[in-house]
Symmetry: C2
Subunit: 326 residues, 2 copies
């Protein structure tokens, strides 16, 4: 592998990605763009490490590239913003061929194209293990910017889709190869796991509503992420109903697992989690359905105090993803 | 190590860094800022991997943090821009203590403060080896933005300082521990290696001159970087004189090495490399010295054709840093 030659190949793979927002693209010391005058800029970085966040034997290179960018786009969606550009830092171990890296970039390029996110550049280096660090810059009207803070007691806690399908797909990929060619639920779970869809359209739409008081994504699991939203807002939460993805329920029935635990703690569903003014919620949910074709699902209520509890008062521990955990 | 607790500790270490440009800082799904209305934004990403780019046994944690940010700031300087904010993705192996990471952030914080670069957030994860991927966003007046393209035959090739001191410091750190407590030249070389100074002020000043036609930094070595500038500009170059840092010459005299090779191929000096209109060069160099107190050093001339040669016509091979090399 030679750096300049590999970069030339990767630039070729990115050729279909719209770079019109860039004043200067890949190949210089930095990339340049003209930010929109009336908007705030937002920025997020996610690192993905082989054998921590993904395994090469569980999915094709394209899916690994897709997921790496999707995790960042989900953060942009959670701010109510739209993506503008991404940079990609990539550490490549000696046993990874240039062809694998190029296929991975095909996955990145396909998602970047559909998300209208330019690829502005990055850095490629030798490493002992495969590592991605992707940074995405986005833009949002100042009045539409949503954060984790702002939830108030009485707000409806809602998610943009049912949860647990990605965790169900991980279960199949890791431990039940016999189900890989299983029925529709297994295929859907594997798809949710390997090709998650960042909720960019949902995020922009929810960002446009002044009734949405706080928003984040559920990448680390509802239990962990709701606790973070509560901590940022200085409130607590009561979970009344955990929306389980039908594919997760079906797979759990096959494997004997607890689908509710997957939905609560599984993570990587990349649905958005929002605190919404109670009186506005019913109408907002109807308009959300008309706009996206999917349901805005109420899962509980923001309450005074701190911590996340179930309706029966039992504490919900944050069992989701700790990036430094075992 | 617990992610939320470590992030709280690192936020504390960054407390002195000016974050006034940020509308929203560390701790949400993304950070937000208001870009300057009259400027272009620029973005650069650099990955640093343990045992590829640095070794923990060769320098303190603060210096490793400093260098990681310095490499990115040097790229911002090379565009004629000023830094606005940085994000930090960090992979931490199990044998690295939270205290080491915190010390490393002290080094990042000190340089960020002096460069007026906010730390906007990032991502921390478990990894098999220590990895940094830092992204810096900067701003520049559109007319001041410099790229690698634009050099024309006849231009003077100049650097913002003599070269090779960082490579001399690496030699001592790696192979001559007996010289670590050596004389002034050894200390200066070690300092150039462990605490390089990104030429932000020089870059902004040179960016303001319309006589500077192309610019980049010399992070991968003059031979490699000049070849890249030439390729981007569609020209060749003739090197007439290689400016050797006095510390590099003195250390090479002690170790029996070739100081000129260090200056030509060593890299990590983070000086800026510019192609400057010939008739403007003498006056520009005088003004540069008045502004910075240092010399703008002519190293050769841009010529028609391609490739980099010496005055005697011999080819200068690009022996600098290939990030995927052995």
């Amino acid at each position: 592998l030679n750096e300049d030659r590999l970069i030339a190949e990767l630039r070729a793979r990115l050729r279909g990605v719209d770079g019109t927002r860039l004043a200067l693209g890949i190949g210089d010391d930095a990339a340049a763009w003209q930010p929109s005058r009336s908007n705030r800029s937002v920025i997020t970085t996610d690192a993905l490490v082989e054998n921590v966040h993904f395994r090469r034997d569980l999915m094709p290179a394209q899916a690994i590239g897709h997921r790496a960018l999707a995790a960042n786009l989900s953060d942009i969606a959670a701010m109510g913003a739209r993506p503008v550009l991404a940079t990609i830092a990539l550490g490549i171990p000696p046993d990874v061929a240039a062809e694998w890296v190029a296929d991975c970039y095909d996955g990145i390029a396909a998602l970047a194209t559909s998300a209208r996110c330019a690829i502005a550049g990055g850095d490629i280096t030798r490493a002992a293990e495969l590592v991605f660090a992707i940074t995405v810059v986005g833009e949002v009207r100042p009045s539409n910017l949503k954060t984790r803070a702002g939830a108030r007691p009485g707000d409806v806690i809602a998610v943009t889709g049912p949860l647990g399908a990605s965790r169900a797909g991980l279960r199949i990929a890791l431990e039940r190869p016999d189900l890989r060619a299983g029925g529709a639920a297994c295929r859907e779970a594997l798809r949710a796991f390997s090709m998650p869809v960042p909720r960019l359209r949902d995020g922009r739409w929810l960002g446009g509503s002044r009734h949405v008081r706080a928003m984040m994504d559920t990448s680390d699991g509802l239990s962990t992420d709701l606790a973070r939203l509560c901590a940022a807002s200085g409130v607590g939460a009561r979970i009344d109903a955990i929306p389980i993805a039908p594919a997760a329920a079906d797979v759990a029935a096959l494997t004997g697992d607890d689908a509710e635990a997957w939905a609560l703690d599984g993570g990587e569903d990349f649905e958005l989690l929002a605190a919404i003014e109670r009186r506005a919620f019913p109408h907002l949910a109807v308009r959300f359905r008309a706009h996206t074709g999917r349901d805005l699902i109420a899962v509980g209520e923001i309450v005074a105090g701190e911590g996340v509890r179930r309706a029966d008062g039992s504490v919900v521990p944050a069992r989701g993803w700790d990036h430094l955990g075992a």
